[in-house]
Amino acid sequence: MSQTGNVLVIGAGIAGMKASLMLAGASNKVYLVEKLPIIGGKVIKNEESFPNLECSTCMVAPIQQDVLQNPNIETLTYSIVEKIEGKLGDFSVVIRKKARYVSLTDCIGCGMCYEPCPVSLKNEWEENLIDRKAIYVPCSGSLPNVPVIDSEHCLKLNGKEECNLCVESCAFEAINLDDSDEVMEIKVGAVILAAGSSTFDLSSLPNLGYSTLPGVYAPMEFERLFASNGPTLGEITLRESEKIPESVAVIHCAGRKEQKYCSAVCCMYSFKFARFLKHKIPSASVFNIYSDVCVPGKNYQSFYKSVEGTDTEMLYTSSIDEVQVSENGPGLKVTYSDASGSMTELNVDMVILAAALVPDDDAAELAEIAGVDLDSRGFIATVQDGSGSMETSREGVFVAGTAEGPKDIQNSVIQAESAAGQVMDIVTAEVSGS
């Protein structure tokens, strides 16, 4: 079977990229499908990653470059998998390459096309903290550094106006407004699902004030606010008031009770936020309101100890689910029950909610397309044979990274390499068996 050595990897985050590189290294042909116009996943949204606060871009950009330059990896950005039929060693896959309207080969990423575009929209990748145009790259330093046209909002494409400004501005004739979706069919021997996860919908917790109180932030919003390549170029200023916060409360476990699991990464990123805040605003008071400190593994507690009492004051609450955030003049008031059970108030300028990791919005759809089971929480389930196998309920289909459940970068990489190892093991067996 010639397609045995072909592998489909869905999701070009850290897990998908690492799995792809490993498979490609052993001369397997990899189709790496990413729904966004860029690769890199969630990690590149973080300026620095815990525990050693390493610059994420420095860490991931070489991996992104390796993926894009690897002759054995066909990276299909802005694409979705529509069908996976067949069986181990012989899957037929249908992929829809969405119309990008900008040629990946002709565009050189000069960015001259953004300026003339008359449409202004919120940039979702930047957590809506800044505007973008209808023709855009999600972030500075995007890879591939080629824009995409948002066909829903482009005046020409949605038929509102005969606008042709981006086309005229492009010196490379790289923009083609007549571009259309392309459907391709490929044959692969195995599939790795590495489509990542999402964060808990904080607006479903009215007691925490997210989406009603402008000073309350989701973790990814704060990551982008801190990022030196982000919407504020790294300046931490509050929404609306544009004030620099002098006091910040990080409230742990947002969504833990609802999701019925601990996400295992929130404590660490909360402590990281404390370090970030003190680094940029040395005079700020930072509080972590928590009930349990979850810092599993050999590397994490020492980081926690290094921020505890220095970068942040740790405030224990006997009931993390009942913390309230309310308006208090221009600022915010956090009400929580302390160790003795009495209600305590804390006035702060900013609140960051440590939200749980939850299944990706498209996880159920992907599971259906891939013909695999979800677990009770909506993540993609593994066979649960007690060996930590990354195989799903469908033979030949594997999962890796946060698509399988909440986890840190290290464990995402381990799962990716583990899944790739399993695929190569099968491929070898298939080849020598046939």
Partner: protein
């Protein structure tokens, strides 16, 4: 300084060079920001170089398909000895143009890309200044490229076989994932049996005991796995693809020499000795146990009894034993203790089980449900600030600072997972550093957790750090993945080309460079009294360069002569 330059420049003497200089217009990005024609005219008139013929041209988009074909044809038809491309960042297109060179006879290391877009035309608005700057950068590139040398890939033969150290669950999983018709695995275990600590933990998950037995059977039956029981590793020399290892039998000191391309370290861990904790009088009472010994009772006899033979009617489960001392959280004890609580409750439904914990650490996605179930089943959870035990008397302080005492029939401690006793010795043998917790240190915490700074040596299971059985097996398969992708039977390994070399005539053998090399790529050749770079291991960072007092090092493709040319042009 002069000496260096002369020494390194020697290679270019007597060579008539013909340098092709191609400037990419990059649409308006370069052509629109500088006066390209002036640059081309000025470069063409350069008389800085003796015996060098310069051909300077511009082109629309060199990185495009037609651009690459154009360049390839130009190299061929003009017979260039060197090539300079004035374009964008090497991070974008260095490999593109190296690829073009590779299609011709021009050695790709005799080409240089000059980043005039990102570092000049995009950041300097004044056209005149930008033109000057671009000219200066390109002239620097020409001067530098003339000092560059041909470099060649040196494919290495590899041995695809693997040595796995440790016959626990992680080691067995690695061995089974790797063994095959064309790849043998040597599995070395210091005890007389396979299975490691997992044999004692077989009650941990339903069906796990079965899995471990199956793994042991599979390993034993696998004709491509050669098993060495009662054996330890005596010496290791070599590098990825080619290790020479001496094994020694613990029973009769007999030695065996083997060759392998990679080494997987799966030597496991041990448990924190509660006797080391000041708060716990572990040895003073007979009814204080470690979680492991209770687990053994359950998995052996199927029940846990006091030494009197009676079943306990109250049990205290104490979390986080050693966490403070070791300064890390083992990450699995909380859910493990809840598992034990379940065993106790199954044994005597009326038993009073109290868990004393500091933080609930429930990182696996099933852990929290286990906690909810335990709580619903009547297990009491007490969050404490402080705790001490004397025999089976437990004194504790709750979060609200209330102090209490309570007496139990049985006390069970959850000790932290700590590095196994022989970790340091093995680390020395493998030249792998230990981390601050005393476990083997991974080469990168996030992007390469199974790799080590000694390429070809991988760490899996709890030798890497505390973790559960499933995670240990995932680490094992991750290491297998890395080996499967890098050591392919019948194929060669291509090491980094831009490595450092040591010039024998200048080396005094002081060994400074050995000490600073993170990768252990430099060794001492005692017979010649010099240090030698193992090019198969060197990554070309150049750190050793600064440590050499005698100027014996050359960092290929980043030699001083090459860098001085850039400096000179920058300072003109």
């Amino acid at each position: 300084m002069k000496e260096f330059e002369m020494r390194e420049a020697g290679q270019d003497k007597n060579l008539r060079a013909k340098v092709g200089v191609y400037i990419c217009e990059c649409g308006p990005n370069i052509a629109g920001k500088v006066d390209l024609d002036k640059i081309i005219a000025d470069l063409s008139q350069l008389d800085d170089y003796q015996d060098v013929e310069l051909v300077v041209k511009k082109y629309g988009f060199l990185c495009s398909g037609p651009g690459k074909e154009f360049l390839e044809e130009e190299i061929r038809s003009n017979g260039y000895t060197h090539l300079v491309v004035g374009a964008c960042s090497p991070r974008d297109h260095d490999s593109t143009f190296m690829g073009v060179c590779k299609k011709t006879d021009l050695n790709p290391y005799l080409y240089r890309i000059i980043n005039i877009r990102e570092h000049c035309t995009w950041v300097i608005d004044d056209k005149e200044k930008a033109t000057e700057k671009a000219f200066s950068y390109i002239r620097g590139g020409i001067s530098r490229v003339l000092r560059q040398s041909e470099l060649f890939e040196k494919p290495l033969d590899i041995n695809p076989d693997v040595l796995v150290i440790g016959g626990g669950i992680a080691g067995m999983e690695a061995a089974l994932s790797l063994s095959g018709e064309d790849r043998r695995v040597f599995l070395v275990e210091k005890t007389d049996h396979l299975g490691g600590i997992s044999l004692d933990l077989s009650g941990l998950l339903p069906g796990q005991g079965e899995i471990i037995k199956n793994k042991i059977d599979s390993v034993t039956e696998d004709k491509n796995i050669r098993l060495f029981l009662n054996t330890s590793v005596e010496t290791v020399i070599g590098f990825l693809g080619n290790f020479e290892i001496e094994l020694v039998s613990i029973e009769n000191a007999e030695t065996t020499d083997i060759m392998a391309g990679a080494i997987v370290v799966a030597t496991g861990s041990s448990l924190f000795d509660p006797g080391e904790s000041a708060h716990l009088s572990y040895s003073e009472s007979d009814e204080v146990y470690t979680s492991l010994s209770v687990e053994k009772m359950f998995s052996g006899e199927g029940e846990a009894r006091l030494r009197s033979g009676k079943k306990p009617s109250s049990v205290a489960l104490i979390h986080c034993v050693g966490r403070e001392e070791k300064n890390y959280c083992s990450g699995i004890c909380c859910s493990y203790m809840m598992k034990l609580a379940g065993f106790f409750r199954n044994q005597s439904p009326d038993i009073q089980v109290t868990e004393f914990y500091r933080d609930l650490c429930l990182p696996q996605k099933d852990d929290q449900e286990r906690y909810t179930e335990a709580e619903a089943a009547g297990v009491e959870f007490v969050r404490i600030k402080d705790i001490s035990i004397k025999g089976t008397e437990v004194s504790f302080e709750k979060m609200n600072s209330k102090k209490s005492e309570q007496s139990f029939d049985m006390v069970v401690l959850a000790p932290a997972i700590v590095p196994s006793a022989d970790t340091e010795e093995l680390a020395d043998l493998l030249t792998v550093p230990l981390d601050e917790s005393g476990f083997f240190q991974e080469v990168h915490k996030m992007t390469n957790p199974v790799g080590t700074s000694t390429d070809g040596v991988f760490i899996v299971g709890t030798a890497h750090g505390p973790k559960g059985v499933s995670d240990s097996m995932q680490f094992a398969r991750a290491s297998a993945g890395q080996i499967l992708t890098r050591l392919i039977p019948g194929e060669k390994l291509i090491p980094e080309v831009k490595v450092t070399e040591i010039l024998e005539a200048y080396c005094t053998g002081c060994g400074n460079c050995l000490d600073v090399c993170v990768y252990g790529a430099i060794y001492s050749d005692d017979s010649r009294g010099i240090s030698v770079v193992n090019e198969a291991v060197c990554r070309g960072c150049g750190n050793c360069y600064g440590s050499c007092p005698s100027g014996a090092l050359r960092t290929k493709h980043f030699t001083n002569t090459q860098l001085y040319r850039e400096v000179d042009e920058a300072l003109r």
